[in-house]
């Protein structure tokens, strides 16, 4: 028994990158076990939804979209760090970001694969999921989402693959070593493709509510067929996504008790994220003002009709949370060098930014559906079932597991050795 354990330990050590410290194997396995249990709980809930149907959820005919669609929109916005950091690194030439791009790609990979999984649970007839490609309606924003999401996920796989191939043992095989090298050489092409595809699927996710001309809370004016939310969603994903990358970097550093990315790199990405959030907010406020003063009144709604209902928790507080607490405050912290260089404030800023963009995705789906359109109906209520909650937590556990495995066995952070000399 002792020798088997020793063998496993030596195998584990052989797979780890050279010159780095990792947690003892028993601790790592315990960690995997804990999150593996959460993953199994989520998988059981997903099985119930597939086997017994969506009656396992608390959705209803007024709330056809609910927690899952919010989770989809939120993880895709947060995973936007992958395409935008890739764009900055390979297209805009911000070379220092090479030290965080692997992690951004890994986070993007987790977010997008999670989104696809949740969509697979969310549809009533999962076995007919391919109809979206086969019977594609080119006028539907969801069709655009499906095509761009799938294509971009393929790009993310290609972007993640070289990192896997850099595993110490795999890299010893000459063919794999050369293949990985060649992937790196051509990565700019994939980064450009990823940025192009992301523009469309982030945008089309914004268009999902923006085109609903019979939903006064969601509808927006726009350019040609694209409502303003199309551009706002792309912009906000590019703005807030890097903040999520930074937040997870800081969490990973905290858990591993190591510095993984240099302050210079963090500062650069934080600054870019801050300016992007600030400019996004200007556009968002302009959009909100026009919608409140022109679009909604044309449909018979005053601005406060969306925030002042009897029997609903929705109020102006959610707008303040989204735009001020989750928008302006992180933007100001990230834009001003002195503030963002304060480690505690930086963490506050990136956490608030993540909250801000998640709230934006929440209101664009759930608050939109809560608003009663019949003047003789009450606000619609919804509280997710445990199956919905478990299947939404499932991707979090999956993400933790994939990050843990990648960090242990792959050179995710190129600066790790340099920042943590033995």
């Amino acid at each position: 028994m002792q020798s088997v354990w020793e063998k496993i330990k030596s195998l584990d050590a052989a797979l780890q990158p050279e010159g780095v410290q990792r947690a003892p194997l028993w601790k790592f396995l315990l960690w995997l076990g804990a999150f593996g249990a959460v993953l199994l709980w989520g998988a059981y809930a997903a099985f119930l939804c597939w086997y017994k149907g969506l009656n396992q959820t608390n959705m209803n005919d007024a709330y056809g979209f609910a927690l899952w669609i919010w989770a989809d929109l939120a993880v895709i916005a947060l995973g936007g760090g992958a395409f935008f950091t890739g764009f900055l690194r390979y297209i805009a030439g911000k070379k220092p970001l090479a030290n965080i791009i692997n992690y951004a790609v890994l986070i993007g990979f987790i977010c997008y694969s999670s989104a696809l999984l949740i969509l697979g649970i969310d549809v009533g007839q999962p076995l007919r999921g391919w109809f979206i490609f086969w019977h594609a309606n080119v006028h539907s924003m969801l069709t655009e989402v499906a095509f761009c999401l799938s294509c971009y996920f393929a790009v993310l796989c290609i972007e993640y693959l070289p990192l896997v191939l850099e595993n110490r043992q795999l890299d010893r095989v000459p063919f794999i070593h050369n293949l990985s090298h060649n992937f790196h050489e051509t990565m700019a092409v994939f980064a450009a493709t990823g940025a192009f595809l992301s523009f469309f699927h982030q945008g089309s996710l914004g268009g999902v509510s923006g085109v609903l001309y019979s939903r006064p809370f969601g509808i927006r004016e726009g350019v040609f067929i694209w409502p303003w939310t199309f551009f706002l969603f792309t912009w906000s994903a590019a703005a807030y996504g890097p903040s999520f990358t930074l937040m997870l970097t800081k969490i990973t550093e905290g858990i591993t008790r190591k510095k993984l990315v240099s302050d210079q790199v963090v500062d650069l990405l934080a600054k870019i994220s801050g300016w992007m959030i600030l400019t996004y907010l200007i556009a968002k406020v302009a959009d909100t003002v026009y919608w409140a003063l022109v679009t909604a009144p044309e449909k018979g709604f005053a601005f406060m009709d969306f925030y002042n209902g009897e029997g609903t928790a929705y109020g102006l507080w959610i707008l303040v949370l989204e735009l001020i607490i989750g928008g302006l405050i992180p933007a100001v912290i990230l834009v001003i060098p002195k503030l963002r260089q304060n480690k505690a404030l930086l963490i506050v800023a990136v956490v608030l930014a993540v909250v801000g963009v998640s709230i934006n995705r929440w209101v664009m789906i759930l608050q939109m559906l809560a608003v009663p359109l019949y003047p003789f109906e009450s606000w619609y209520q919804y509280f997710p079932s445990w199956q919905e909650v478990a299947t939404t937590i499932l991707p979090v556990a999956y993400g933790v597991l994939l990050i843990s495995l990648s960090h242990r066995y792959l050179p995710v952070f190129p600066q790790e050795r340099e920042l943590n000399p033995a």
């Binding site: 969506l54 007839q125 999962p126 594609a136 006028h139 939903r215 009897e310 003047p375």
Partner: protein, 264 residues
Amino acid sequence: MIHKEEGNLPRYGMVIDLDKCTGCGACMVACQSENNVPFKENETNKLDSITWMRIFKVSNGEPFPGTEMVYLPRPCQHCEGQHPGHPPCTSVCPATATDYDHATGVVSQIYTRCFGCRYCMTACPYLVRYFNWWDPHFPADTEKYLSPDVSVRMRGVVEKCSFCFHRFQRAMDKAYYEGRKELEEMEYQTACTQACPAGAITFGDLNNPHHQVHKLKDSPRAFRLLEKLGTNPKVYYLSSKKWVRKACDNEMGKEHNKYRPKRK
């Protein structure tokens, strides 16, 4: 009225006289029976029950003795949108599982193509689209009385009122057989229209001057539900009461919440 006409093609629509409706529910039952609308084993939660035709009870919000009520039957509104064939629900469907028939103006649902994403339900402001959250259930012997003309829907797909389109198809088959291309007014009537004991529902071609609905839609009592949204529905309502017309569309301002049910 902003009803737009697409040439001389038939535009089937409905006019419901709220001054006549007693809220008896015969239209709901007839619809349920005609279209094989399934039950659930437990019908207590009405938010996931399927009722293609639903009757709302609307109050004027005044305290006793000024309280007034109206019953408002609501089928699918078969919206036309701001240009023909652009109802809110069809363009959003990613799998082309719902369509606008330019020959009749009816908004259809293809159950075997729907994969249950529910985007159309999100788009519909009238909540006429229903998702099969449960397996269809027909209690006791009711399965033996299912209509052979209407397919039964499975769990996980969306369904909605079709203006009894199978009746249109049946009537057209007969007309073709007799060498005709057009239908007489009474040849195609929906189940709810025929079941209404008060004669509150009138159905026909809104574009045909010989059909009753053509005249009724221009009545000074006529209005449509949530007209400001720009859905351009083909279901018209008649009411002599001003408050009823007001309660059926959103008007910004203080009265916005007047007609909502009060929470106790």
